[in-house]
């Protein structure tokens, strides 16, 4: 979960997009096998009433749906916050603001999500929104920082040439800096996405459902089949999401880079 995430700014100029190996088909294959394995196991195993209820196909779909929804919404919010914030902070005028904002984002990631989750539940309420907030706090850093790093690492001579051609700073941002920063930004979004798949398992503690429900129920009722199914399905989802993100990363990278 800590892939490429040191807590210090610029400590990890993320190896530009870790050159996604021509989208290997191994991860989705493994994910498929895991899902198939779980489904087959549920069919053939001798399940008691609690297990059967928790592992009913419809029930699994609901949990999966909740989980995916949490991941998508929180990642969208993270991108909607992190990218503009990263752009603003990388403008020369915002120089002095960089350290404090990065410190806050670092702290957000240093604090365990479960802590925020419980805190929010105690102070405000339980539910989907609280789960999303805690996911966002946790996953903001990679997007924010990669946006800044990506923009900062744009070749100065290209920007110089662009200025020399008479491009204003707004035009340079949109036609030069952002397109060139896209690979690094995508790498950050991918990290956030994967973090969210994992951390969303904790959403069950704020009553927001997700695959974490299965894991928690497995622990509480001491039912290994439920616990195991929850874990394996989460792993399968993470593999699949990471693979999809990798494919998207390759596709969305501007040509010519």
């Amino acid at each position: 979960m800590t892939r490429a995430l040191s807590l210090r700014d610029n400590a990890t100029a993320p190896a530009p997009a870790e050159a996604a190996p021509r989208s290997s088909f191994v991860p989705p294959l493994v994910a498929g096998l895991l899902v198939a394995g779980v489904l087959v196991y549920i069919q053939v195993a001798d399940l008691d009433a609690i297990e059967a209820r928790s592992l009913a196909f419809g029930e699994l779909l609901v949990r999966l749906g909740e989980h995916v929804r949490l991941v998508i919404v929180s990642t969208l919010v993270v991108v909607a916050l992190g990218v503009p914030l990263g752009i603003l902070l990388s403008r020369p005028a915002a120089g002095p603001l960089q350290p404090p904002v990065l410190a806050v984002a670092n702290a957000g990631q240093a604090i365990p999500s479960i802590g925020i989750l419980v805190l929010l539940a105690l102070l405000y309420d339980v539910g989907f929104a609280m789960a999303v907030i805690s996911l966002v706090v946790y996953a903001l850093l990679p997007v924010l920082r990669n946006t800044m790093v990506g923009l900062r690492h744009v070749d100065r001579s290209i920007i110089d040439a662009a200025r020399g051609m008479g491009m204003g700073s707004r035009r340079i941002l949109f036609t030069v800096e952002l397109p060139l920063a896209v690979p690094v930004m995508l790498a950050g979004i991918r990290v956030a996405l994967i973090l969210n798949v994992g951390v969303a398992t904790l959403a069950t503690y704020t009553d927001a459902g997700g695959l974490g429900d299965l894991i928690e129920r497995g622990i509480v009722f001491y039912r290994m089949p439920i616990l195991l199914s929850g874990c394996l399905l989460t792993i399968a989802l993470a593999l699949l999401v990471d693979w999809l993100a990798g494919v998207a990363e390759t596709r969305l990278r501007p040509r010519g880079l």
Binding site: D155, S157, I158, I159, D160, A161, A162, R163, G164, M165, G166, M167, G168, R171, T175, V176, P179, L180, P254, R255, G256, L257
Partner: protein
């Protein structure tokens, strides 16, 4: 030596760029990066700024299109004080070429060349035609290169695109900051030759920065030599600089072999020829050819003299002595 002011080579309208007591001092520094400098650059002139690193040549160049704001003085381009022109607007009408080229890697060659016309709201069709025309002009086949990406091109090809891009909106002025500095010597030689031919056709006003005195001598109509302290040591034609270096710094900056280098700048028409007595003794050459080219031809032909068309004949010895004589007279004066 005080900064020189060369009143334009003619009427005011012939001056394209006028630097008037332009200086630059950075806040953290107690010395001028550029000392008050006044130069008039004529329309169609090729001026080379040359000097060691830190002599202010690049800063001077970048003040012309306001990538660096002068601390003092004024710069006039095409009859307008640049301080009163919107900098982006100013730069769209001044070609700019840098050593690192700075092509946008995510845009095709065609899109790169068409950037400035696009900013100037040219129609798609007009941009397309202009792009092809320019690629042709810099020796790249449009059909082959238009839709390639910069990283698919060699360094020399990229700089051709850089030049094409700078020429895109047909600006009267080109600023070039060591454009051939990062290119291997052989390709650099080709590019310099081609660029001179191109310049003979398009007659832009060019300000060109280099640290390479040979490049300066080869390309410039006039050369401004700066020393490490940002002092303008000499501003003159290549031949005059070789013939009469203003001071010890210029002499050392030119280095050895000034006399030999002069051979490739002097034209045989400039040398006193012996009026022809008997014809047919040597090969015939144009008065406009350089002494070194003629020497080359004579030696290659195994002869010892040439006939300069309409002037008379010159022997190898005449040429060498005449070159040396000019040297002495110049130094003596």
């Amino acid at each position: 030596m005080p900064e020189q002011f060369h009143p334009g080579t003619g009427a005011q309208s012939d001056v394209e760029i006028s630097l008037r007591e332009v200086s630059k001092r950075y806040p953290a520094s107690d010395a001028d990066a550029v000392r008050p400098l006044s130069i008039d650059i004529a329309r169609g002139e090729f001026l080379v700024l040359v000097g060691p690193s830190g002599c202010g040549k690049t800063t001077t160049l970048r003040m012309i299109n306001r990538l660096v704001e002068p601390s003092g003085g004024e710069i006039w381009v095409d009859g307008k004080n640049t301080a009163h022109v919107d900098p982006d607007e100013l730069r769209r009408h001044i070609g700019y070429v840098i050593q690192q080229v700075g092509l946008l890697p995510h845009l095709s060659i065609g899109e790169n060349v068409g950037l400035v016309p696009k900013m100037l709201d040219w129609s798609k069709e007009r941009i397309r035609q202009r792009v092809d025309e320019l690629l042709d002009l810099v020796g790249l086949d449009p059909d082959t290169y238009r839709s390639r990406y910069p990283k698919q091109l060699s360094g020399g090809q990229q700089q051709r695109v850089g030049v094409a891009r700078a020429l895109a909106a047909d600006p009267p002025v080109m600023l070039m900051d060591e454009p051939f500095g990062a290119i291997d010597p052989i390709t650099r030689g080709h590019l310099q030759d081609e660029f001179l031919k191109l310049q003979a056709r398009i007659r832009k006003t060019i300000v060109f920065v280099t640290h390479d005195i040979d490049e300066a001598l080869r390309l410039g109509d006039r050369i401004a030599i700066f020393d490490e302290d940002a002092r303008l040591a000499q501003l003159d034609t290549p031949l005059a600089i070789l013939t009469s270096p203003a001071d010890e710094f210029v002499r050392s900056f030119i280095g050895d072999g000034a006399a030999i280098r002069r051979l490739s700048l002097l034209r045989v028409g400039d040398l006193p020829a012996v009026p022809e007595t008997s014809t047919g003794t040597g090969i015939e050459v144009d008065p406009g050819e350089t002494v070194s080219a003629v020497l080359e031809k004579i030696l290659a032909a195994g002869l010892d003299s040439a006939v300069v068309r309409g002037r008379g004949s010159l022997t190898v010895q005449d040429m060498l002595l005449a070159t040396a004589a000019r040297d002495e007279s110049a130094v003596a004066s």
